[in-house]
């Protein structure tokens, strides 16, 4: 059971937290330790969740620099708001929510989708497939990214969390603060719109 707040942690939990190496603690115990003044506990939280937080940010902005800035911002916000984490959902869900919010704020402020010069396929070896096929595949991937970037915020967030982070409808509802029904509706509309946009691509 996730902890409710530092106040709700029993004394024996604090004893366990102080005696067990931080890396072996679960997320709720790490939050408790961080709230108890053990700053290095938050470092472990960052280490555990940095990849998923970075990736969700990347899906919104499609470039490494902005994604790393947003991920950093998400963790700083998480640190500042750690006391408000009530443990009603998993820490990862709470971090996803922060990451989605900072990403949506960013893309709302800068609506035009960005496509960096270091594309997602930068490390791929084109010798595996023919060069024309590789180019076509890259162009299609870029078209899909542009299409996703043009979706309304909720549809976009729902599609990203479901498709790339394999989250359940319930988890997505928790992240976005909506209902499971709304998540299904947003996913349906996101896919329908994506099909329309891709269908109109040259």
């Amino acid at each position: 059971m996730p902890h409710e707040s530092a106040l709700a942690i029993a004394p024996w939990t604090l004893c366990v937290v102080t005696q067990t190496p931080l890396a072996e603690l679960d997320d709720s115990a790490l939050v408790a330790a961080a709230l108890d003044g053990r700053r290095e506990a938050f470092d472990i939280i960052v280490e555990r969740h940095r990849r998923s937080v970075y990736q969700v940010c990347y899906r919104f902005v499609n470039n490494h620099e902005d994604a790393s800035d947003l991920a950093q911002d998400a963790f700083v916000r998480a640190w500042k708001g750690l006391r408000s984490f009530k443990g009603q959902s998993a820490l990862s869900t709470w971090l996803y929510r922060i990451a989605v919010n900072v990403s949506l704020n960013k893309v709302s402020a800068k609506r035009a989708p960005t496509e960096s010069i270091e594309t997602t396929d930068q490390f791929e070896d084109v010798r595996i497939e023919g060069a024309p096929q590789a180019i076509l595949r890259k162009e299609r991937a870029a078209a899909v990214r542009r299409a996703i970037a043009s979706l309304p915020d909720k549809q976009r967030a729902t599609l990203i969390l479901r498709t790339y982070h394999d989250m359940s409808h319930q988890q997505i509802a928790e992240v976005l603060g909506s209902s499971v029904g709304a998540v299904k509706a947003n996913l349906f509309h996101a896919l329908t719109n994506l099909k329309k946009i891709l269908g109109s691509e040259p």
């Binding site: 106040l7 004394p11 003044g37 963790f75």
Partner: protein, 184 residues
């Protein structure tokens, strides 16, 4: 039978469609085409990969987060130990004040019990209560009094039980010191 709704199409795409509706899907070409369209666009979206940054990036990233947190204003950080927050101190403060009010009221009541004057027996505790209330109101500001009023029964005991033995001993020492100061 009606065609699948958007939610049912999503359920079908994820293999969670209820059997009755799955029977309709098996028999309905229009619903199957809509499902195929959704599935194909979803699969196309899944093909778009996310690059993996270099291993060095992650170490650098952790340092960046730490440095960014270190530059946060000091007031946003928690300088107080968790057990010294108002959620803990307020109930104990309230409990201490109630204890002191009771201690002030009880001796005088015992004294008036020995009196032969019934009116005095009835009036004195009330006067003591008024004194105690006046004392409490004098000590509490409006905000604290308002907050004290919303404490649920058992909250003080629960909060006390959640302290470590050292914290409990320290609290007991503070209460004893306060009570002995009041007595003197």
């Amino acid at each position: 039978m009606t065609h699948l709704t958007s939610a049912e199409l999503i359920d079908a795409m994820e293999g969670m469609l209820i059997p009755e509706r799955a029977a309709h899907l098996a028999a309905c070409g229009a619903c199957r085409r809509r499902l195929d369209d959704l599935s194909s666009v979803l699969n196309e979206a899944k093909q778009v990969s996310c690059p993996e940054p270099s291993p060095l990036f992650w170490t650098h990233f952790s340092h960046r987060v730490r440095a960014a947190i270190d530059t946060e204003p000091a007031e946003s950080r928690n300088a107080w130990p968790s057990w010294l927050r108002w959620q803990v101190l307020l109930p104990f403060g309230t409990m201490a004040m109630i204890l002191m009010a009771l201690m002030l009221a009880v001796p005088r009541q015992v004294a008036t019990d020995s009196s032969e004057n019934d009116v005095a027996v009835m009036d004195t505790p009330a006067a003591d209560s008024a004194d105690a209330l006046e004392m409490l109101v004098g000590w509490l500001d409006l905000e604290t009094a308002g907050a004290a009023a919303v404490i649920e029964p058992g909250f003080v005991e629960q909060a006390f039980l959640e302290l470590t033995s050292e914290e409990q001993q320290e609290l007991a020492r503070l209460l004893r010191a306060e009570l002995s100061r009041e007595k003197s």
